[in-house]
């Protein structure tokens, strides 16, 4: 009671100032609200989309590197002849046992006996003999 009495007795200048500051808030219509929501949705939706596009490419690169690291040493272990070794070493115009002999003499131990054997086996292979004869 006592407070109400006090309010009623506020100075007129103060009451006028208070009335000035008591304005209505900005009106946000439903249309503006939907537009803002759509803009926000587009903004956030674009981020995961980018991730999805990039990630598979990197996975593919990583898988290729991993396969190269694992498969190349395995193929060498099973005695396949290096394509660089299977060549016309003596420049005779054909790949034959003379190339294996020349390579064995020139290599000074750089080429292993297993590699020489693999080269010779490729020379006599019936599947590959079309290249040699």
């Amino acid at each position: 009671m006592h407070e109400e009495d006090n309010l009623e007795t506020l100075p007129d200048e103060l009451v006028a100032e208070l009335k000035k500051s008591d304005k209505r808030g900005s009106l946000i219509t439903a249309r503006v609200d939907r537009s803002l929501a759509n803009l926000a949705r587009e903004q956030f939706a674009s981020r995961p989309e980018k991730r999805r596009r990039i990630a598979p490419a990197w996975y593919a690169v990583a898988a290729t590197v991993l396969l190269a690291v694992l498969v190349v040493p395995l193929s060498n272990r099973f005695g396949t002849v290096d394509d660089g070794l299977y060549a016309d070493v003596d420049n005779s115009g054909q790949i034959d046992i003379a190339d294996v002999l020349t390579l064995a003499r020139r290599s000074d131990g750089e080429v292993t006996q297993a590699e020489l054997n693999a080269f010779a086996m490729k020379v006599v292979s019936l599947a590959d003999s079309g290249e040699t004869s």
């Binding site: 046992i97 003379a98 294996v100 002999l101 006599v124 019936l126 004869s133």
Partner: protein, 150 residues
């Protein structure tokens, strides 16, 4: 109907069995020689049948101590019965004086022959080289020994 079918099948079986009896499988071995005028460090040959049905079933090394191990050939094809021709080769890193000179048996091929037609063999020397890897003059020849008949 079934009786006729049985007769036809029986006749077919008779025809097949008589054909098989007429063309028994037989075995032969072929010694392959290379004749050179200078020491030979590497050689390679191809052997096939120009006529007749032949299958190479084994490959043996030759007489020279410079080529002491079994020569190189397509073992997979021989072991799996796919060798109706063969390429055989070998090389030696022995010193020149240890290499064979003159006529030398380089390999013996063991064959399984079938069919009525007498086989004619085609033997081709692909290369023969000296100690330095230089191609040398050489002649190739074969001697055939007929083996058992099955």
């Amino acid at each position: 109907m079934i009786g006729r079918l049985r007769v036809i099948v029986a006749l077919l079986l008779l025809a097949v069995s008589s054909a098989m009896a007429d063309s028994p499988v037989r075995f032969a071995s072929v010694d392959v020689y290379i004749d050179t005028t200078e020491p030979m460090a590497a050689w390679q040959l191809e052997f096939s049948a120009a006529t007749g049905v032949m299958q190479i079933v084994g490959v043996e090394n030759g007489d020279s101590e410079a080529f002491d191990g079994a020569p190189y050939y397509d073992r997979d094809a021989v072991e799996n019965g796919r060798a109706d021709r063969i390429v055989v080769a070998d090389y030696s890193l022995e010193e020149q004086e240890e290499l064979p000179n003159g006529r030398v048996r380089v390999t013996t091929l063991h064959l399984m022959l079938s069919g009525d037609e007498a086989p004619e063999f085609d033997t081709r020397l692909i290369v023969a080289t000296s100690h330095d890897g230089v191609s040398i003059n050489a002649e190739i020849s074969i001697e055939i020994s007929e083996g058992s008949t099955k």
